[in-house]
């Protein structure tokens, strides 16, 4: 059986609506956060999970990490049922919540780590070795004596990551780890995750809204929406389904003459620059190049697929999310 096995997972929450005028009792409404979700992840896999807000991503992570008990379905992680044997289970997992700090706010992070060492009952040797390794890889060496509150968001996220990996978990769950980070911090974080995954075969499941994270890290992506699994496979295959638009930008030496296509491609002009948008099935550079060159001397030209976020937005629209 695979390392993480999820089958028929269902979880719903009762939400109390605001009391309506005249009504005596508040109405209770059931929100189905997860409906019959199944998937398997092998040891050492690096899987991304995307979906619009409220799709059930966090609920999935919470069930897998033993925080929530599902209503129905079987879940095993490394042969254990997360919510049945919570303490044994969480010993082997690391969880990072992008929007929730787990380290202590006012004390140097080294003190927080020392406390985590006791919490996980780590031996001195294992702790020192792992700490040295992680602080090196995450560039935290100079900050060990800095309190968390004095750190920037990027530093804080690295510190959090170090804290949740001290006990060398077999699985790492990341809930929106790159939220609010600048480009440098994001890149550093991704590099580190790849390193950890390669070095220790740590299984990583991350949820994110940042498609670049997925593109850079994950060989496999799952799309959740309305509590259901809508897609499970490679990112490139997913994108190719929705990748139907190309934008051609042409810079001319001078203001170009008229450019007329028979039908399809839309042309917009601004000074010496011309922008053409067309469907991929209408794209034929053999035909277009001569037309473009007839209008003037081409200085520079780029052909771009649509931004990955647009593709995902198109996908969500199509799936009615």
């Amino acid at each position: 059986m695979s390392y993480i096995h999820v089958e028929g997972l269902c979880k719903s929450f009762g939400v109390r609506r605001k009391r309506e005028k005249g009504a005596l009792l508040r109405k209770k409404e059931t929100v189905r956060a997860l409906q019959n979700v199944s998937f398997d992840i092998e040891r050492g896999g690096l899987v991304g999970c995307i979906g619009p807000n409220g799709a059930g991503k966090s609920t999935t992570v919470k069930v897998l990490s033993g925080i929530l008990t599902p209503d129905e379905g079987t879940v095993t992680v490394g042969g254990r049922i997360p919510w049945k044997d919570r303490k044994q289970h969480v010993r082997r997992i690391g969880v990072v919540f992008g929007q929730r700090m787990q380290l202590w706010w006012d004390v140097p992070i080294l003190d927080s780590y020392a406390l985590l060492k006791d919490m996980y009952r780590l031996t001195d040797d294992a702790y020192q070795k792992r700490l040295a390794e992680l602080t090196e890889a995450l560039g935290l060496k100079d900050m060990l004596h800095t309190p968390l509150r004095q750190m920037s968001l990027g530093q804080r996220m690295r510190a959090e990551l170090c804290g949740s990996l001290l006990h060398q978990p077999e699985i790492l769950f990341l809930d929106e780890p790159t939220i609010g980070l600048d480009a440098v911090s994001k890149l550093a974080l991704r590099d580190f995750l790849q390193w950890e995954n390669r070095e220790y075969r740590t299984t990583i499941l991350l949820t994110t809204h940042d498609m670049e994270d997925i593109a850079a890290l994950c060989s496999r992506v799952m799309v959740l929406g309305h509590g259901q699994k809508l897609y499970d496979g490679s990112l490139s295959e997913l994108l190719s389904r929705y990748d139907t638009l190309r934008t051609i930008t042409v810079h001319y030496d001078d203001v170009p003459g008229p450019i007329v296509f028979s039908d399809g491609p839309r042309v917009s002009r601004q000074g010496k620059t011309v922008q053409i948008t067309c469907q991929t099935d209408q794209l034929d550079m053999n035909e277009m190049m001569p037309l473009l060159q007839r209008a003037g001397a081409v200085r520079e030209m780029t052909i771009q697929p649509q931004n990955i976020d647009h593709l995902i937005a198109a996908m969500y629209r199509e799936m009615d999310l």
């Binding site: 969480v90 010993r91 929007q99 929730r100 706010w105 006791d118 919490m119 009952r121 309190p147 809930d175």
Partner: protein
């Protein structure tokens, strides 16, 4: 053993982090001193006006007041994670971070908060306890001192157990429930005075439901040499255990309630 070390280390760290803001710490401690000093003043004014309350002399009343102050604020100082921080941990979803660590939720909750400012209130309580014991002319012996320690120890668990009611309720309703405060803070205010000064319904409440009388008043009355309700001597040593029983019951209920925890936020 490891758990106790973990708790001590956490406490040391929390106190250090409070001291990161020394001015604020000093001012708040001072405020606590004034607040609890005011409570003591109320007792002083009372005993000035009346020279006794039932069979209790002014010294006895100081003793009862001191016992409650020391017990209650020890609980608030070291049990802050349950007495104060827990509802907000549920509301903000911070409880999730406790659930992903291999320790009990209550252990960790206790490890996440401390309130060292309460030391001022504890000091006021100690002064009152000392003054009361001098005025009442208690002839201290080892068994009596042990009984006092037992009473304070069991009171700690009793009060923590009562605060657990609020924790349990807020797991279900997410929002903090003020109702539970009638037993905790209400119990503190009421049971600063010996329970036999109250009408019957309150006596029953504080003996059976929130057994402050069993945990504090019976042993205190015995120490003061005025056993209540004609109880034998050994009873004074046994009744405080009610506090631990109450905590144990609440602990089990809490564990059951945690299974209903539903988490909030993304």
């Amino acid at each position: 053993m490891n758990t106790i070390r973990l708790y001590c280390k956490s406490m040391a760290m929390l106190i250090r982090s409070q001291l990161q803001y020394p001015a604020s710490f000093l001012l708040q401690t001072l405020a606590q001193l004034i607040m609890e000093g005011g409570e003591l003043l109320a007792v002083i004014l009372l005993v000035r006006r009346f020279d006794h309350l039932n069979q209790w002399t002014p010294g006895n009343l100081y003793f009862f007041f001191g016992l409650m102050s020391v017990s209650f604020y020890l609980t608030e100082c070291f049990g802050r994670g349950i007495t104060g921080a827990f509802p907000s941990m549920v509301r903000t979803g911070q409880l999730d971070t406790l659930l992903v660590r291999p320790r009990g939720v209550l252990t960790q909750a206790l490890c996440t908060a401390a309130d060292p400012r309460r030391i001022a209130c504890i000091a006021v309580g100690l002064v009152s306890l000392f003054r009361g014991s001098v005025l009442s002319g208690i002839s201290w012996s080892v068994p009596l001192l042990l009984l006092l320690a037992e009473s304070i120890f069991c009171s700690f668990w009793l009060i923590l157990g009562l605060f657990l009611i609020e924790a349990i309720l807020c797991i279900y309703s997410v929002k903090s429930v003020e109702l539970a405060n009638t037993l905790t803070y209400g119990g503190r205010s009421a049971c600063q005075y010996p329970v036999d000064t109250y009408p019957r319904p309150l006596r029953v409440l504080f003996t059976v439901a929130a057994p402050f009388a069993l945990v504090m008043h019976i042993p205190a009355a015995f120490i003061l040499g005025k056993p209540v309700w004609n109880l034998p001597a050994w009873a004074a040593y046994v009744t405080p255990l009610a506090g631990i029983v109450l905590f144990a019951v609440m602990y089990l209920l809490f564990q059951a309630a945690m299974r209903h925890y539903r988490s909030t936020g993304s």
